[in-house]
Symmetry: C4
Subunit: 217 residues, 4 copies
Amino acid sequence: MDDDERRRHVYERTHDPSRVLALSDGVFAIVMTLLVLEIHVPELRGGQTLRVALQEVRPSFVAFLISFVVVAISWAGHRDLFAHVRRTDRSLVWLNILYLLPLSILPFGAALISRYQSDPVALTMYGTLLVLMALTRLAMWLYATGRRPHLLYQGMDAQARRYGIAIIASPAVLNLIAVLIAHEMPQASLVIYGTVPVLYFLSILVSRSSVPPELAE
Amino acid sequence: MDDDERRRHVYERTHDPSRVLALSDGVFAIVMTLLVLEIHVPELRGGQTLRVALQEVRPSFVAFLISFVVVAISWAGHRDLFAHVRRTDRSLVWLNILYLLPLSILPFGAALISRYQSDPVALTMYGTLLVLMALTRLAMWLYATGRRPHLLYQGMDAQARRYGIAIIASPAVLNLIAVLIAHEMPQASLVIYGTVPVLYFLSILVSRSSVPPELAE
Amino acid sequence: MDDDERRRHVYERTHDPSRVLALSDGVFAIVMTLLVLEIHVPELRGGQTLRVALQEVRPSFVAFLISFVVVAISWAGHRDLFAHVRRTDRSLVWLNILYLLPLSILPFGAALISRYQSDPVALTMYGTLLVLMALTRLAMWLYATGRRPHLLYQGMDAQARRYGIAIIASPAVLNLIAVLIAHEMPQASLVIYGTVPVLYFLSILVSRSSVPPELAE
Amino acid sequence: MDDDERRRHVYERTHDPSRVLALSDGVFAIVMTLLVLEIHVPELRGGQTLRVALQEVRPSFVAFLISFVVVAISWAGHRDLFAHVRRTDRSLVWLNILYLLPLSILPFGAALISRYQSDPVALTMYGTLLVLMALTRLAMWLYATGRRPHLLYQGMDAQARRYGIAIIASPAVLNLIAVLIAHEMPQASLVIYGTVPVLYFLSILVSRSSVPPELAE
């Protein structure tokens, strides 16, 4: 092995994405699973039945469900991006960590809206976390797909890149609106947080059926 | 590398199951380990000994044991399925996430029957989680093995497919019965939840001894 | 690819150890990290300084340290065994899950001796977990290395096998003694739990220096 | 395969770093995510608004942020080291476990300064953990890069080795100073813990721009 080959080997190893994925999948799995810890088993008060007591846990359950789906969508998006990523440079590694930051705070946000589901401040904080998750994910997408061909397996055409931006930005815009109206219409704000994932799935269905079958195999 | 080859490479990378397995194994490992957090160290009340106090923790311990084995069986079944899966398309990825949903709620279910082990509502919720875990696992099995040869390493014959359905559906039926009788016979319901894993092992033993030795190596 | 080749490929995939290791490493990592959750930040009572209050956390810290090292030793032993394991059959998979069971209960055991560090019942339960971890690990070792050449990369000679048994059984015997004397001499029992890991390291040092240098590279 | 080849295969498998990385990435991911559990959702006291109540959570949030970044930097450093590591011997495995020890205690340290952010004892303990993380990381670096060519993919020149030492030691020295002044100037101590990660990033930026572009690709 000559010097050039050696330098190339070092370069490949130090830019290998595998540990970035291992850390990220770990954080995704833990956040998904920690969320349930915010659903507390209720204590029965004088004469109360468990059925009635569990009604009070309902907001926790709604917060759990929304957050679980948000994390799942983020993970699927992360997987879609990194299916194209061949190498991670220092900037991409740190953009990824930046992206893990709001993600790992999400269990706190979920706990906050579990406890104060109609408080504008709680709804603002939760939505801000969702928007930050989208912004950091967008930064990663823009960096990785933006004229840095050595990071990708192969160049991405402008259309695919814009589609990727749209798929991240659209829910973020809706969540941002939810944040902005949280003080006037807290109920509407919560409804938006819960509706966005549903819309996301519909958009995926539409986008899939528009793909020519011979390409979609 | 020509265009066709490139398209194929992208296709393989975006359908690679490895991150689906990484996320799933993470969730399995965390759920298995979080379950123990529901067994609380008892505080001694006036003159009580630790031995007596630990008796009160027994329901938590039973809930832990049943849930641990349920998660372990689910993991083993997940591993058995994905040993055949060569590629994961978007639907399989989302069926897998759907499957992780009741799994990640299981620690709450276990906490519920730890605290209210003879309450029909608690037993109904716990059993419902078990049935949902089976249904989502069945959906994955049916989707992956159903005339989608590009998802599997090789076609699965009808008998192996039916065997896979039976191994998922049989415990689900028993658990469904336990849910349905929870209000009339809560004690019997809990006994069923604890017995099903034992039956599962017996059925595995039987199914193994019926395999010709030259194939079983 | 002919039928024989296909059957062999299926066989290899269904016996691949990688997911067994992924689940196990996940459980090891989580148990190691959950242990610290049992060290609670003390609340200061009237006029107490933090330094004094932290003294009361000391038993938690001792329980954490012992348990952390116990888990680390178990992981290192698991890694040493699976460095030889080429294939995992159904029995080995379930022996491994059986082994993860006492491991995942260890945080409860650690919490118990944190709270009741001189109570014989707490010390008995903790030690029983340590003994069960050793027994299940021993069962895995005996199964994998016992005349099942298809499970290993290459046969293990009788001496290496006996050495593996000794390295698992010796600490188990000491911990069993600690369990048996817990009611008469609880303090000695705790000392043994803390000393065994130290002895383990010394034995490793001795065993290493007895290896001829050309083999040890 | 002759005997020599066999022995070499065993040697490679028992020295393979993959499970060391799996365990470490698991611990990193869990610690990163557990940190948020120390930010508690506040309970409103008579007439208090959530906005005011959240102010009281601010110290928890600061402790979380500092700790998250500290763990992220440690992970990035661990990844940088192990990009060069081809084989792990028993000493490196145990040095790595030693390094995971203060890391896994960090959530307790973060909880401590969340609750007692101006108490010198809490600040001393937190800083000591940071220094221990640096010392154990330094020990790993010195061991792996110190005249043990069989552990690395290729030899490391003295300059790269010294650079690696500096990048670990410099923040450690600053944190050590923060520990030493914690009793006289607790506020300054906390500021240092928060500033060190920022300085680290600036130093990375400088070090990057000093690399010749043809080498940095």
